[in-house]
Amino acid sequence: MKVLVAEDDRVSRRVLGRYLTKWGYEGVCVEDGAQAWKLFTEQGDFHLAILDWNMPGYNGIQLCRKIRRNEKYKHVYIILLTGRSEKKDLVVGFEAGADDYVVKPFDPVELASRLKVGCRLVESSLLLFVKNKELNHYADEMENLAEDRAKMLVHSDRLASLGTLTAGIAHEINNPTTFISGNAQTLERVSPIVETALRNEMENHPEKARKIEMVLEEMPKMIAGIRNGVSRVTAIVKGLKSFARVGKNTKEPFHINHCLDQGLLICNNKLKQQLVVEKNYANELLPVTGDPQKLEQVFINLFVNAADAHEEQGLKTPGTLYLRTQGFEGYIQIEVEDDGPGIPKDKLRDIWKPFFTTKDGKGTGLGLAISQGIIHDHMGEILVENMDKGGARFTIRLPTDEGD
């Protein structure tokens, strides 16, 4: 414990200093109030103060007030040293903020025990201070946690209702699509009859020839337009449905290399025209637990994207699709890399957003959004980067089963 002693009487100061050392305190002695205050504020870590009532600079009472005025020194235990022992003097001392007083000439035994009391009080108030600070800290932390949690809840709630809404919309769109599509197909089927009839009409009424000619030419295109629209709507609805369904997973252990090969097999037709596949699989990888069909869907999305990217470049030679798997402590890493044009730097963040597409009407913009959802459902991560030599690389990390 650090004790400040302010006493202008040289002898008494020295005696006090010696006793303090003897009793195991770290005593610092000064000879007037001004020095006392200077030291006290400079060092700032005194626990107790023994202040003489009458001193040059500031007297003991003034010092008491100064110390008490600062919240920081609340815990400091102040003992006034005084020759006065009248009641009204004591009241002045206590009111100024002193905790105790000792009448001069002091009895060392008495002072020692009074200092002990002081120590005890300082200790408990310091402890209280620390606890209080901790409590405040925890309270803050809890508050932040609660806020974060609330935000997450709102977010997941919004996502959940978005999922329900999406599934509902997908359903509702299905019915009208059915009869748009069906009617277009019927029209297509009967168009030979219409054509014959129109040609007869043209012969009978040559003045209508120009218009009929146009109808004959445009009708198949109009029907094709409807059917093209329908197939795009269908693709979007299908994508939305699986986007909304992300989260309901079957769980089974499976091997990722096999899953990649299955994916390759499924889009073999599209791939073989554009890309040569170069596999570099690690043997003896631990199995992953999850839904192999969904993972397959992720790989298919990546493969098809690579093929589309290469096709868009319009090169005569096929590109290369690199597939790598690697096992690490607790996870498996899968890399799907191509040597196509890569992803425009400013689009790197956008590719995960639903409905974002660079495929100009060909894509639904849902593939990567769905893929990311699937990987997150498997407690994994999927990252993208552009390679320096060109091309994009998708890195997927999935946790493996505990080896048992």
């Binding site: 599509s181 069906g182 197909q185 019927t186």
Partner: protein, 139 residues
């Protein structure tokens, strides 16, 4: 011999579309807006194939399939649904449906092929029945 088809769907536009399409392919087509209407119609008319939606008010497609399965097992059934679930598919299979086709029927040939295959089966039986009649001429 003409093939009589009953189209059951609560969506009028889909009903009409299928009616038109199948009529143009020379089938005789009737329509009903739900299972209940379909059952009533089945009591009055000879129907060979029922093409039914699954989600409908009053009486849904599964219930209709159950009724047909019990009451007129000779009638062939094809389910059409936008509500693709494993449960639905299994129910249809169990109730003896010839096929379950998913909306939005982007390609009607699947439906046409199903109908044609049913037609083929019917023809085989008709041939057999004719042969039987030939063997035992009724005098």
């Amino acid at each position: 011999m003409s093939v009589n088809i009953l189209v059951v769907d609560d969506e009028e536009d889909i009903r009409n579309m299928l009616n038109r399409h199948l009529s143009l392919l020379d089938y005789m087509v009737e329509t009903a807006a739900n299972g209940k209407e379909a059952v009533e119609l089945l009591q009055r008319k000879r129907i060979d194939i029922v093409i039914t939606d699954l989600l409908m008010p009053e009486m849904n497609g599964i219930e209709l399939l159950e009724f047909i399965h019990e009451d007129s097992p000779m009638i062939h059934t094809i389910a059409i649904t936008g509500y693709v679930t494993l449960d639905n598919a299994l129910s249809c299979m169990r109730l003896g449906a010839d096929n379950i086709i998913f909306k939005p029927l982007e390609d009607l040939t699947e439906l046409e092929d199903s109908v044609k295959s049913v037609e083929g089966k019917m023809k085989i039986w008709q041939k057999k029945l004719r042969e039987l009649r030939g063997m035992k001429p009724s005098k």
